[in-house]
Protein backbone atom coordinates (compact mmCIF):
# COMPACT_ATOMS: atom_id res chain seq x y z
CA UNK A 1 0.00 0.00 0.00
CA UNK A 2 2.60 2.50 1.06
CA UNK A 3 4.77 1.65 -1.91
CA UNK A 4 1.85 2.37 -4.18
CA UNK A 5 1.08 5.59 -2.40
CA UNK A 6 4.70 6.61 -2.68
CA UNK A 7 4.82 5.81 -6.38
CA UNK A 8 1.70 7.89 -6.84
CA UNK A 9 3.09 10.86 -4.95
CA UNK A 10 6.32 10.60 -6.91
CA UNK A 11 4.42 10.75 -10.18
CA UNK A 12 2.54 13.83 -9.07
CA UNK A 13 5.76 15.52 -8.00
CA UNK A 14 7.25 15.14 -11.45
CA UNK A 15 4.30 16.81 -13.09
CA UNK A 16 3.73 19.85 -11.01
CA UNK A 17 5.75 22.59 -9.44
CA UNK A 18 5.18 22.70 -5.71
CA UNK A 19 4.72 26.24 -4.50
CA UNK A 20 6.64 27.35 -1.50
CA UNK A 21 4.77 29.09 1.30
CA UNK A 22 1.49 27.96 -0.18
CA UNK A 23 0.37 25.57 2.52
CA UNK A 24 -3.05 25.77 4.04
CA UNK A 25 -3.04 26.58 7.70
CA UNK A 26 -5.81 25.33 9.91
CA UNK A 27 -7.41 27.07 12.82
CA UNK A 28 -10.01 25.35 14.97
CA UNK A 29 -12.70 27.87 15.82
CA UNK A 30 -15.15 25.73 17.72
CA UNK A 31 -15.21 22.35 19.37
CA UNK A 32 -17.83 19.76 20.05
CA UNK A 33 -18.47 18.23 23.43
CA UNK A 34 -17.73 15.89 25.03
CA UNK A 35 -14.39 14.86 23.61
CA UNK A 36 -12.71 11.59 24.47
CA UNK A 37 -9.42 12.11 26.37
CA UNK A 38 -6.64 10.16 24.68
CA UNK A 39 -2.98 9.88 25.64
CA UNK A 40 -0.50 9.40 22.81
CA UNK A 41 2.88 8.77 24.40
CA UNK A 42 5.87 9.92 22.31
CA UNK A 43 7.23 6.92 20.39
CA UNK A 44 10.83 6.23 21.47
CA UNK A 45 13.05 6.76 18.41
CA UNK A 46 10.60 9.00 16.53
CA UNK A 47 13.02 11.96 16.58
CA UNK A 48 14.94 10.20 13.78
CA UNK A 49 11.95 10.73 11.47
CA UNK A 50 12.11 14.50 11.62
CA UNK A 51 8.49 15.58 11.89
CA UNK A 52 7.02 14.02 15.00
CA UNK A 53 4.71 11.20 14.02
CA UNK A 54 2.79 11.27 17.32
CA UNK A 55 2.12 15.00 17.08
CA UNK A 56 0.55 14.50 13.63
CA UNK A 57 -1.63 11.66 14.98
CA UNK A 58 -2.73 13.85 17.88
CA UNK A 59 -3.47 16.85 15.64
CA UNK A 60 -5.52 14.66 13.31
CA UNK A 61 -7.62 13.24 16.14
CA UNK A 62 -8.16 16.64 17.74
CA UNK A 63 -9.22 18.18 14.45
CA UNK A 64 -12.09 15.71 14.27
CA UNK A 65 -13.57 17.43 17.32
CA UNK A 66 -14.14 14.03 18.95
CA UNK A 67 -10.86 13.71 20.87
CA UNK A 68 -8.79 15.67 23.32
CA UNK A 69 -5.09 14.84 23.32
CA UNK A 70 -3.59 14.71 26.80
CA UNK A 71 -0.16 16.13 27.59
CA UNK A 72 2.16 13.23 28.31
CA UNK A 73 5.29 14.15 30.33
CA UNK A 74 8.56 12.34 29.54
CA UNK A 75 8.35 8.90 31.11
CA UNK A 76 11.25 6.75 32.27
CA UNK A 77 11.52 4.13 31.04
CA UNK A 78 9.60 5.35 27.96
CA UNK A 79 6.78 2.88 27.34
CA UNK A 80 6.42 1.21 23.95
CA UNK A 81 3.85 -1.07 22.36
CA UNK A 82 5.83 -3.95 23.88
CA UNK A 83 5.58 -2.64 27.44
CA UNK A 84 3.20 -3.97 30.03
CA UNK A 85 0.56 -1.26 30.36
CA UNK A 86 0.05 0.22 33.79
CA UNK A 87 -3.67 0.94 33.32
CA UNK A 88 -4.08 2.44 36.79
CA UNK A 89 -1.40 5.02 36.05
CA UNK A 90 -3.03 6.04 32.72
CA UNK A 91 -6.42 6.13 34.38
CA UNK A 92 -5.00 8.53 36.96
CA UNK A 93 -3.92 10.73 34.04
CA UNK A 94 -7.63 10.72 33.03
CA UNK A 95 -6.98 8.91 29.75
CA UNK A 96 -9.82 6.87 28.28
CA UNK A 97 -7.61 5.63 25.47
CA UNK A 98 -3.88 5.23 25.06
CA UNK A 99 -1.51 4.86 22.11
CA UNK A 100 1.98 3.46 22.66
CA UNK A 101 4.56 2.79 19.99
CA UNK A 102 8.15 2.85 18.88
CA UNK A 103 10.29 3.73 15.88
CA UNK A 104 13.33 1.67 14.89
CA UNK A 105 15.83 2.29 12.08
CA UNK A 106 16.22 -0.62 9.66
CA UNK A 107 19.46 -1.67 7.97
CA UNK A 108 18.01 -0.68 4.55
CA UNK A 109 17.72 2.96 5.62
CA UNK A 110 14.00 2.78 6.20
CA UNK A 111 12.16 2.76 9.50
CA UNK A 112 9.75 0.52 11.29
CA UNK A 113 6.93 2.13 13.23
CA UNK A 114 4.95 -0.10 15.57
CA UNK A 115 2.05 1.00 17.69
CA UNK A 116 -0.79 -0.37 19.80
CA UNK A 117 -4.06 1.19 20.92
CA UNK A 118 -5.54 0.50 24.36
CA UNK A 119 -8.91 1.01 25.95
CA UNK A 120 -7.82 2.22 29.38
CA UNK A 121 -11.29 1.96 30.90
CA UNK A 122 -11.79 -1.65 29.82
CA UNK A 123 -8.08 -2.39 30.29
CA UNK A 124 -7.84 -4.03 26.90
CA UNK A 125 -5.71 -3.82 23.77
CA UNK A 126 -7.66 -2.77 20.68
CA UNK A 127 -4.94 -3.89 18.29
CA UNK A 128 -1.92 -2.42 16.58
CA UNK A 129 0.01 -2.30 13.33
CA UNK A 130 3.62 -2.16 12.17
CA UNK A 131 4.57 -0.02 9.16
CA UNK A 132 7.82 0.06 7.24
CA UNK A 133 8.38 3.49 5.79
CA UNK A 134 10.85 6.00 4.47
CA UNK A 135 11.14 9.51 5.89
CA UNK A 136 8.94 10.88 3.11
CA UNK A 137 6.09 8.67 4.26
CA UNK A 138 5.92 9.91 7.85
CA UNK A 139 2.83 12.05 7.29
CA UNK A 140 1.01 9.35 5.33
CA UNK A 141 1.81 6.79 8.06
CA UNK A 142 0.72 9.13 10.84
CA UNK A 143 -2.62 9.67 9.05
CA UNK A 144 -3.05 5.88 8.77
CA UNK A 145 -2.39 5.47 12.51
CA UNK A 146 -4.94 8.21 13.23
CA UNK A 147 -7.45 6.48 10.93
CA UNK A 148 -6.92 3.19 12.81
CA UNK A 149 -7.41 4.84 16.21
CA UNK A 150 -10.45 6.80 15.01
CA UNK A 151 -12.16 3.73 13.56
CA UNK A 152 -11.50 1.54 16.60
CA UNK A 153 -12.82 4.16 19.00
CA UNK A 154 -15.76 5.57 17.05
CA UNK A 155 -16.81 2.67 14.84
CA UNK A 156 -16.55 4.91 11.76
CA UNK A 157 -13.83 5.13 9.18
CA UNK A 158 -11.38 8.00 9.62
CA UNK A 159 -10.70 10.46 6.80
CA UNK A 160 -7.20 11.53 7.79
CA UNK A 161 -5.64 9.72 4.82
CA UNK A 162 -8.01 11.25 2.30
CA UNK A 163 -7.21 14.27 0.19
CA UNK A 164 -8.95 17.49 -0.72
CA UNK A 165 -8.93 19.55 -3.90
CA UNK A 166 -9.52 23.29 -4.08
CA UNK A 167 -8.72 26.30 -6.22
CA UNK A 168 -6.42 29.12 -5.10
CA UNK A 169 -6.57 32.45 -6.87
CA UNK A 170 -3.26 34.25 -6.43
CA UNK A 171 -3.21 37.53 -8.35
CA UNK A 172 -4.06 36.57 -11.91
CA UNK A 173 -3.14 32.89 -11.40
CA UNK A 174 -5.57 30.10 -10.72
CA UNK A 175 -4.14 26.96 -9.11
CA UNK A 176 -5.99 23.68 -8.77
CA UNK A 177 -4.45 22.28 -5.61
CA UNK A 178 -4.48 18.83 -4.06
CA UNK A 179 -3.59 18.47 -0.38
CA UNK A 180 -3.90 16.01 2.50
CA UNK A 181 -7.13 16.37 4.47
CA UNK A 182 -5.18 18.36 7.08
CA UNK A 183 -4.08 20.87 4.43
CA UNK A 184 -0.47 19.66 4.38
CA UNK A 185 1.46 18.51 1.34
CA UNK A 186 -0.24 20.88 -1.08
CA UNK A 187 0.63 20.29 -4.73
CA UNK A 188 -0.75 22.03 -7.81
CA UNK A 189 -2.29 19.75 -10.42
CA UNK A 190 -3.03 22.64 -12.79
CA UNK A 191 -1.98 26.27 -12.96
CA UNK A 192 -3.72 28.66 -15.34
CA UNK A 193 -4.30 32.34 -16.05
CA UNK A 194 -7.98 31.59 -16.58
CA UNK A 195 -10.52 30.50 -13.96
CA UNK A 196 -10.91 26.87 -12.83
CA UNK A 197 -14.12 25.86 -11.05
CA UNK A 198 -16.18 22.87 -9.91
CA UNK A 199 -13.54 20.19 -9.28
CA UNK A 200 -15.17 16.78 -8.76
CA UNK A 201 -13.28 13.65 -7.67
CA UNK A 202 -13.79 10.41 -9.55
CA UNK A 203 -15.06 7.70 -7.19
CA UNK A 204 -11.65 5.95 -7.27
CA UNK A 205 -9.86 9.19 -6.31
CA UNK A 206 -7.52 9.01 -9.30
CA UNK A 207 -9.07 11.72 -11.46
CA UNK A 208 -10.64 15.13 -11.17
CA UNK A 209 -13.29 16.50 -13.47
CA UNK A 210 -13.44 20.30 -13.54
CA UNK A 211 -14.37 23.34 -15.59
CA UNK A 212 -11.55 25.41 -17.08
CA UNK A 213 -11.96 28.72 -18.91
CA UNK A 214 -8.64 28.48 -20.75
CA UNK A 215 -10.52 28.58 -24.10
CA UNK A 216 -12.40 31.76 -23.15
CA UNK A 217 -15.49 29.73 -22.34
CA UNK A 218 -16.30 26.96 -19.87
CA UNK A 219 -15.09 23.52 -21.00
CA UNK A 220 -15.21 20.30 -18.93
CA UNK A 221 -11.97 18.33 -18.53
CA UNK A 222 -11.09 15.07 -16.81
CA UNK A 223 -7.58 15.25 -15.37
CA UNK A 224 -5.69 12.14 -14.31
CA UNK A 225 -3.79 12.85 -11.10
CA UNK A 226 -1.59 9.81 -11.70
CA UNK A 227 0.04 11.04 -14.92
CA UNK A 228 -1.27 14.59 -15.40
CA UNK A 229 -3.08 13.70 -18.63
CA UNK A 230 -6.08 15.90 -19.40
CA UNK A 231 -9.01 14.94 -21.60
CA UNK A 232 -11.67 17.29 -22.88
CA UNK A 233 -14.95 15.64 -21.92
CA UNK A 234 -17.43 18.32 -22.96
CA UNK A 235 -16.53 21.15 -25.32
CA UNK A 236 -19.76 21.67 -27.21
CA UNK A 237 -20.92 24.93 -28.71
CA UNK A 238 -21.88 27.22 -25.85
CA UNK A 239 -21.05 26.60 -22.17
CA UNK A 240 -20.01 23.28 -20.63
CA UNK A 241 -19.95 23.03 -16.85
CA UNK A 242 -20.95 21.42 -13.52
CA UNK A 243 -19.45 17.92 -13.92
CA UNK A 244 -20.65 15.16 -11.56
CA UNK A 245 -19.52 11.51 -11.51
CA UNK A 246 -21.87 8.57 -11.34
CA UNK A 247 -21.00 6.35 -8.34
CA UNK A 248 -19.53 3.68 -10.65
CA UNK A 249 -17.25 6.29 -12.29
CA UNK A 250 -18.46 5.36 -15.76
CA UNK A 251 -20.61 8.38 -16.52
CA UNK A 252 -20.66 12.11 -15.93
CA UNK A 253 -23.62 14.44 -15.67
CA UNK A 254 -22.84 17.91 -17.03
CA UNK A 255 -24.65 21.16 -17.76
CA UNK A 256 -24.55 22.23 -21.40
CA UNK A 257 -26.03 25.19 -23.27
CA UNK A 258 -25.59 23.63 -26.73
CA UNK A 259 -29.33 23.46 -27.26
CA UNK A 260 -30.00 26.84 -25.65
CA UNK A 261 -30.34 27.61 -21.95
CA UNK A 262 -28.55 25.51 -19.33
CA UNK A 263 -29.68 21.90 -19.32
CA UNK A 264 -28.39 18.66 -17.77
CA UNK A 265 -26.90 15.97 -20.01
CA UNK A 266 -25.33 12.58 -19.39
CA UNK A 267 -22.03 11.48 -20.96
CA UNK A 268 -19.80 8.44 -20.77
CA UNK A 269 -16.60 9.20 -18.85
CA UNK A 270 -14.68 9.37 -22.16
CA UNK A 271 -17.03 12.05 -23.49
CA UNK A 272 -19.04 9.78 -25.78
CA UNK A 273 -22.74 8.88 -25.69
CA UNK A 274 -24.29 12.30 -25.10
CA UNK A 275 -27.87 12.18 -23.83
CA UNK A 276 -30.10 15.04 -22.66
CA UNK A 277 -31.73 14.51 -19.25
CA UNK A 278 -33.70 17.68 -18.50
CA UNK A 279 -36.03 19.49 -20.81
CA UNK A 280 -37.06 22.86 -19.48
CA UNK A 281 -36.92 26.56 -20.28
CA UNK A 282 -35.26 27.05 -16.88
CA UNK A 283 -31.67 26.92 -15.68
CA UNK A 284 -31.09 23.27 -14.73
CA UNK A 285 -27.60 22.80 -13.30
CA UNK A 286 -25.39 21.48 -10.48
CA UNK A 287 -26.31 17.80 -10.97
CA UNK A 288 -25.22 15.29 -8.27
CA UNK A 289 -25.84 11.54 -8.24
CA UNK A 290 -27.20 9.86 -5.15
CA UNK A 291 -24.83 7.24 -3.70
CA UNK A 292 -26.94 4.40 -5.11
CA UNK A 293 -26.84 5.97 -8.55
CA UNK A 294 -30.64 6.02 -8.77
CA UNK A 295 -31.23 9.77 -8.53
CA UNK A 296 -29.76 12.99 -9.76
CA UNK A 297 -30.24 16.00 -7.49
CA UNK A 298 -29.91 19.38 -9.20
CA UNK A 299 -30.60 23.11 -9.00
CA UNK A 300 -33.40 24.55 -11.13
CA UNK A 301 -35.30 27.83 -11.26
CA UNK A 302 -38.24 26.25 -13.10
CA UNK A 303 -40.50 27.28 -10.21
CA UNK A 304 -39.42 30.94 -10.39
CA UNK A 305 -36.57 30.86 -7.88
CA UNK A 306 -33.58 28.51 -7.72
CA UNK A 307 -34.52 25.40 -5.74
CA UNK A 308 -33.27 21.84 -5.46
CA UNK A 309 -35.03 19.06 -7.35
CA UNK A 310 -34.31 15.43 -8.02
CA UNK A 311 -35.06 13.16 -10.96
CA UNK A 312 -34.40 9.51 -11.78
CA UNK A 313 -30.86 9.17 -13.13
CA UNK A 314 -32.28 7.49 -16.20
CA UNK A 315 -34.32 10.64 -16.83
CA UNK A 316 -37.87 11.36 -15.82
CA UNK A 317 -40.14 13.79 -14.07
CA UNK A 318 -38.31 15.98 -11.50
CA UNK A 319 -39.64 16.36 -7.96
CA UNK A 320 -39.00 19.46 -5.89
CA UNK A 321 -36.88 18.81 -2.77
CA UNK A 322 -36.44 22.22 -1.08
CA UNK A 323 -39.37 24.47 -0.22
CA UNK A 324 -38.23 26.92 2.44
CA UNK A 325 -36.60 30.12 1.19
CA UNK A 326 -36.13 31.86 -2.14
CA UNK A 327 -32.64 30.66 -3.02
CA UNK A 328 -31.51 27.07 -2.46
CA UNK A 329 -28.63 25.83 -4.59
CA UNK A 330 -25.65 23.44 -4.82
CA UNK A 331 -27.10 20.12 -3.59
CA UNK A 332 -24.63 17.67 -1.99
CA UNK A 333 -25.77 14.34 -0.60
CA UNK A 334 -24.18 12.86 2.51
CA UNK A 335 -22.34 9.57 1.88
CA UNK A 336 -25.15 7.61 3.61
CA UNK A 337 -27.72 9.37 1.43
CA UNK A 338 -29.79 10.48 4.44
CA UNK A 339 -28.91 14.17 4.46
CA UNK A 340 -28.78 16.84 1.79
CA UNK A 341 -26.37 19.74 2.27
CA UNK A 342 -26.93 22.84 0.17
CA UNK A 343 -26.49 26.62 0.15
CA UNK A 344 -29.47 28.68 1.26
CA UNK A 345 -30.00 32.43 1.26
CA UNK A 346 -30.99 33.14 4.84
CA UNK A 347 -31.76 36.76 5.76
CA UNK A 348 -29.30 38.04 3.16
CA UNK A 349 -26.62 35.49 4.05
CA UNK A 350 -25.55 32.53 1.96
CA UNK A 351 -25.19 29.68 4.46
CA UNK A 352 -24.92 25.90 4.57
CA UNK A 353 -28.19 24.13 5.32
CA UNK A 354 -28.75 20.44 6.04
CA UNK A 355 -32.01 18.80 5.09
CA UNK A 356 -32.87 15.52 6.79
CA UNK A 357 -34.44 13.66 3.90
CA UNK A 358 -36.48 11.37 6.18
CA UNK A 359 -38.23 13.98 8.34
CA UNK A 360 -37.76 17.09 6.10
CA UNK A 361 -36.14 19.07 8.93
CA UNK A 362 -33.81 21.87 7.87
CA UNK A 363 -30.90 23.06 9.99
CA UNK A 364 -28.49 25.87 9.11
CA UNK A 365 -25.04 24.89 10.39
CA UNK A 366 -22.83 27.90 9.57
CA UNK A 367 -22.85 31.49 10.80
CA UNK A 368 -20.80 32.98 7.94
CA UNK A 369 -22.50 34.90 5.13
CA UNK A 370 -20.92 34.00 1.79
CA UNK A 371 -20.74 30.22 1.89
CA UNK A 372 -20.34 28.17 -1.29
CA UNK A 373 -19.58 24.64 -2.48
CA UNK A 374 -20.23 22.39 0.54
CA UNK A 375 -18.46 19.04 0.31
CA UNK A 376 -18.95 16.07 2.66
CA UNK A 377 -16.01 14.14 4.06
CA UNK A 378 -16.30 10.55 2.83
CA UNK A 379 -17.37 9.43 6.34
CA UNK A 380 -20.06 12.14 6.45
CA UNK A 381 -18.75 13.64 9.69
CA UNK A 382 -17.49 16.98 8.38
CA UNK A 383 -18.44 19.35 5.59
CA UNK A 384 -15.81 21.42 3.83
CA UNK A 385 -16.99 24.69 2.31
CA UNK A 386 -15.74 27.93 0.82
CA UNK A 387 -16.53 31.21 2.51
CA UNK A 388 -15.22 34.76 2.72
CA UNK A 389 -13.61 36.17 5.87
CA UNK A 390 -12.35 39.77 5.90
CA UNK A 391 -12.72 39.97 2.13
CA UNK A 392 -10.61 36.86 1.49
CA UNK A 393 -11.71 33.48 0.28
CA UNK A 394 -11.00 30.76 2.84
CA UNK A 395 -12.06 27.18 3.36
CA UNK A 396 -14.01 26.24 6.40
CA UNK A 397 -14.87 22.83 7.79
CA UNK A 398 -17.88 22.26 9.98
CA UNK A 399 -19.01 19.04 11.66
CA UNK A 400 -22.34 17.81 10.37
CA UNK A 401 -23.86 18.61 13.77
CA UNK A 402 -22.59 22.19 13.35
CA UNK A 403 -20.56 22.09 16.57
CA UNK A 404 -16.96 21.80 15.39
CA UNK A 405 -15.65 24.51 13.09
CA UNK A 406 -12.26 24.94 11.45
CA UNK A 407 -10.87 27.50 9.09
CA UNK A 408 -8.26 26.75 6.42
CA UNK A 409 -6.57 29.67 4.72
CA UNK A 410 -3.51 30.38 2.61
CA UNK A 411 -1.35 33.46 2.73
CA UNK A 412 -1.80 35.95 -0.10
CA UNK A 413 -4.47 34.05 -1.93
CA UNK A 414 -8.17 33.39 -2.23
CA UNK A 415 -9.18 29.78 -1.64
CA UNK A 416 -12.42 28.45 -3.09
CA UNK A 417 -14.14 25.48 -4.73
CA UNK A 418 -13.24 22.75 -2.22
CA UNK A 419 -13.96 19.10 -2.97
CA UNK A 420 -13.26 16.38 -0.43
CA UNK A 421 -11.85 13.27 -2.07
CA UNK A 422 -13.09 9.71 -1.53
CA UNK A 423 -11.64 6.91 0.62
CA UNK A 424 -8.85 5.22 -1.27
CA UNK A 425 -7.17 1.89 -0.56
Amino acid sequence: MLTRLRAFLGAVLLLVTPLAAAQLSIEITGAGAPRMPIAIAPFPGEAALGSGITSIVRADLERSGLFRGLEVPPLSPAPTEASTVNYAEWRSRLADALVLGSVAARPDGRYEVRFRLYDVVKQASLGGIAYTLSKEQVRASAHRIADFVYEKLTGEKGVFSTRIAYVVKRGSRFELQIADADGAGEEAALVSFEPIISPAWSPDGRKLAYVSFENKKPVVYVHSLVDGKRNVIANFRGSNSAPAWSPDGRRLAVTLSREGGSQIFLLNADGSGLRRLTSSAAIDTEPRFSGDGQWIYFTSDRGGSPQIYRMPAAGGEPQRVTFEGSYNVTPRLSPDGKTLAYITLNEGKFQVALLDLSNRQVQIITDSDRDESPSFAPNGRMILLATVIDGRGVLSAVSSDGRVKQRLSVTAGDVREPAWGPFTE
Partner: protein, 178 residues
Amino acid sequence: MRLAIIATLAAAAVAAGCATTPEEQAPARVEERAAKPAPVETKPIARVDLTSKPAAASPLKDPNNILSRRSIYYDYDKFDIKDEFRPLVEAHAKYLRENPGAKMLIQGNADERGSREYNIGLGQRRSDSVKRALAILGAKDNQIESVSLGEEKPVCTEHAEDCWAKNRRGDMLYSGEY
Protein backbone atom coordinates in the same frame (compact mmCIF):
# COMPACT_ATOMS: atom_id res chain seq x y z
CA MET B 1 2.29 68.69 -41.01
CA ARG B 2 5.93 67.95 -41.60
CA LEU B 3 5.49 68.50 -45.32
CA ALA B 4 3.92 71.87 -44.67
CA ILE B 5 6.95 72.92 -42.61
CA ILE B 6 9.36 71.86 -45.36
CA ALA B 7 7.31 73.83 -47.89
CA THR B 8 7.47 76.92 -45.68
CA LEU B 9 11.24 76.61 -45.24
CA ALA B 10 11.68 76.21 -49.00
CA ALA B 11 9.64 79.34 -49.59
CA ALA B 12 11.72 81.21 -47.03
CA ALA B 13 14.91 80.07 -48.78
CA VAL B 14 13.61 81.37 -52.10
CA ALA B 15 12.67 84.70 -50.50
CA ALA B 16 16.14 84.94 -48.88
CA GLY B 17 17.77 84.35 -52.28
CA CYS B 18 15.76 87.10 -53.85
CA ALA B 19 16.51 89.47 -51.04
CA THR B 20 20.28 89.34 -51.62
CA THR B 21 21.22 92.86 -52.65
CA PRO B 22 23.59 93.75 -55.58
CA GLU B 23 25.39 96.32 -53.38
CA GLU B 24 26.59 93.68 -51.02
CA GLN B 25 27.97 91.38 -53.72
CA ALA B 26 29.49 94.04 -56.05
CA PRO B 27 33.31 94.22 -55.38
CA ALA B 28 34.66 90.64 -55.37
CA ARG B 29 34.21 88.06 -58.12
CA VAL B 30 34.46 85.18 -55.79
CA GLU B 31 31.72 86.59 -53.69
CA GLU B 32 29.68 87.25 -56.75
CA ARG B 33 29.57 83.52 -57.56
CA ALA B 34 28.80 82.55 -54.04
CA ALA B 35 26.06 85.10 -53.88
CA LYS B 36 24.12 83.54 -56.70
CA PRO B 37 20.62 82.78 -55.55
CA ALA B 38 20.38 79.21 -54.12
CA PRO B 39 18.75 76.92 -56.60
CA VAL B 40 15.08 76.64 -55.89
CA GLU B 41 14.08 73.36 -54.30
CA THR B 42 12.61 71.43 -57.21
CA LYS B 43 11.37 68.39 -55.27
CA PRO B 44 7.59 68.29 -55.71
CA ILE B 45 5.70 69.22 -52.59
CA ALA B 46 3.68 66.35 -51.21
CA ARG B 47 0.05 67.20 -50.99
CA VAL B 48 -2.12 66.49 -47.95
CA ASP B 49 -5.66 65.89 -49.02
CA LEU B 50 -8.17 65.61 -46.17
CA THR B 51 -11.02 64.92 -48.57
CA SER B 52 -9.76 61.39 -49.37
CA LYS B 53 -10.93 58.39 -47.24
CA PRO B 54 -8.62 57.10 -44.49
CA ALA B 55 -6.96 53.69 -45.03
CA ALA B 56 -9.66 51.07 -44.41
CA ALA B 57 -9.70 51.13 -40.56
CA SER B 58 -12.17 48.61 -39.08
CA PRO B 59 -15.42 50.21 -38.01
CA LEU B 60 -15.27 47.74 -35.09
CA LYS B 61 -12.21 49.61 -33.78
CA ASP B 62 -13.29 53.14 -34.61
CA PRO B 63 -14.13 54.85 -31.32
CA ASN B 64 -16.58 57.10 -33.17
CA ASN B 65 -18.49 54.10 -34.46
CA ILE B 66 -21.18 52.51 -32.32
CA LEU B 67 -19.72 49.12 -33.33
CA SER B 68 -16.71 49.79 -31.10
CA ARG B 69 -19.09 49.46 -28.14
CA ARG B 70 -19.53 45.84 -27.11
CA SER B 71 -21.13 45.65 -23.68
CA ILE B 72 -24.76 45.35 -22.65
CA TYR B 73 -25.64 45.77 -18.98
CA TYR B 74 -28.46 44.10 -17.10
CA ASP B 75 -30.56 44.65 -14.03
CA TYR B 76 -30.33 42.27 -11.07
CA ASP B 77 -31.65 38.81 -11.92
CA LYS B 78 -32.73 40.07 -15.38
CA PHE B 79 -31.67 39.09 -18.87
CA ASP B 80 -33.88 41.22 -21.11
CA ILE B 81 -32.03 43.79 -23.24
CA LYS B 82 -32.88 47.28 -22.00
CA ASP B 83 -34.06 49.88 -24.56
CA GLU B 84 -30.86 51.90 -24.26
CA PHE B 85 -28.90 48.97 -25.74
CA ARG B 86 -31.26 48.37 -28.69
CA PRO B 87 -29.32 50.62 -31.14
CA LEU B 88 -26.10 48.80 -30.22
CA VAL B 89 -27.60 45.37 -30.87
CA GLU B 90 -29.13 46.62 -34.13
CA ALA B 91 -25.78 48.01 -35.29
CA HIS B 92 -24.01 44.70 -34.63
CA ALA B 93 -26.80 42.75 -36.32
CA LYS B 94 -26.37 44.96 -39.39
CA TYR B 95 -22.61 44.40 -39.34
CA LEU B 96 -23.05 40.63 -39.11
CA ARG B 97 -25.59 40.74 -41.96
CA GLU B 98 -23.26 42.74 -44.16
CA ASN B 99 -20.21 40.67 -43.23
CA PRO B 100 -21.35 37.04 -43.47
CA GLY B 101 -17.79 35.87 -42.77
CA ALA B 102 -17.72 37.69 -39.42
CA LYS B 103 -17.97 35.50 -36.32
CA MET B 104 -19.01 36.64 -32.86
CA LEU B 105 -18.56 35.20 -29.36
CA ILE B 106 -21.01 36.57 -26.81
CA GLN B 107 -19.83 36.16 -23.22
CA GLY B 108 -22.52 36.51 -20.58
CA ASN B 109 -21.51 37.50 -17.06
CA ALA B 110 -23.12 37.57 -13.63
CA ASP B 111 -22.34 39.31 -10.37
CA GLU B 112 -20.59 37.39 -7.61
CA ARG B 113 -23.57 36.62 -5.41
CA GLY B 114 -24.62 33.00 -5.06
CA SER B 115 -23.55 29.75 -6.63
CA ARG B 116 -20.82 29.86 -9.29
CA GLU B 117 -22.53 27.24 -11.41
CA TYR B 118 -25.97 28.83 -11.14
CA ASN B 119 -24.29 32.09 -12.14
CA ILE B 120 -22.98 30.36 -15.26
CA GLY B 121 -26.66 29.70 -16.00
CA LEU B 122 -27.58 33.36 -15.43
CA GLY B 123 -24.74 34.55 -17.70
CA GLN B 124 -25.82 32.06 -20.34
CA ARG B 125 -29.34 33.46 -20.26
CA ARG B 126 -27.88 36.91 -20.96
CA SER B 127 -25.67 35.81 -23.85
CA ASP B 128 -28.51 33.70 -25.28
CA SER B 129 -30.81 36.74 -25.21
CA VAL B 130 -28.28 38.81 -27.18
CA LYS B 131 -27.82 35.99 -29.67
CA ARG B 132 -31.60 35.70 -30.10
CA ALA B 133 -31.95 39.45 -30.68
CA LEU B 134 -29.15 39.44 -33.27
CA ALA B 135 -30.74 36.46 -35.02
CA ILE B 136 -34.13 38.15 -35.17
CA LEU B 137 -32.37 41.11 -36.78
CA GLY B 138 -30.92 38.91 -39.49
CA ALA B 139 -27.58 37.58 -38.19
CA LYS B 140 -26.97 33.92 -39.02
CA ASP B 141 -26.94 31.30 -36.26
CA ASN B 142 -23.54 29.98 -37.36
CA GLN B 143 -22.00 33.44 -36.96
CA ILE B 144 -22.67 33.59 -33.24
CA GLU B 145 -21.70 31.48 -30.24
CA SER B 146 -23.20 32.45 -26.90
CA VAL B 147 -21.33 31.33 -23.78
CA SER B 148 -21.17 32.25 -20.12
CA LEU B 149 -18.30 33.24 -17.87
CA GLY B 150 -20.62 33.28 -14.85
CA GLU B 151 -19.09 35.32 -12.03
CA GLU B 152 -15.54 34.27 -12.92
CA LYS B 153 -14.34 37.30 -14.91
CA PRO B 154 -15.50 40.40 -13.03
CA VAL B 155 -14.42 43.79 -14.42
CA CYS B 156 -15.09 45.29 -11.01
CA THR B 157 -14.19 43.55 -7.75
CA GLU B 158 -15.74 45.62 -4.97
CA HIS B 159 -18.53 43.87 -3.08
CA ALA B 160 -21.20 46.49 -3.72
CA GLU B 161 -24.08 47.18 -6.07
CA ASP B 162 -22.41 49.74 -8.35
CA CYS B 163 -19.70 47.17 -8.98
CA TRP B 164 -22.10 44.27 -9.36
CA ALA B 165 -24.01 46.29 -11.98
CA LYS B 166 -20.84 46.48 -14.10
CA ASN B 167 -20.44 42.72 -13.85
CA ARG B 168 -23.99 41.86 -14.96
CA ARG B 169 -22.94 42.16 -18.53
CA GLY B 170 -22.90 40.66 -21.99
CA ASP B 171 -19.81 41.26 -24.15
CA MET B 172 -19.85 40.89 -27.93
CA LEU B 173 -16.44 39.87 -29.28
CA TYR B 174 -15.42 39.22 -32.88
CA SER B 175 -12.91 36.58 -34.03
CA GLY B 176 -9.43 37.62 -33.06
CA GLU B 177 -10.64 39.62 -30.08
CA TYR B 178 -10.77 36.79 -27.57
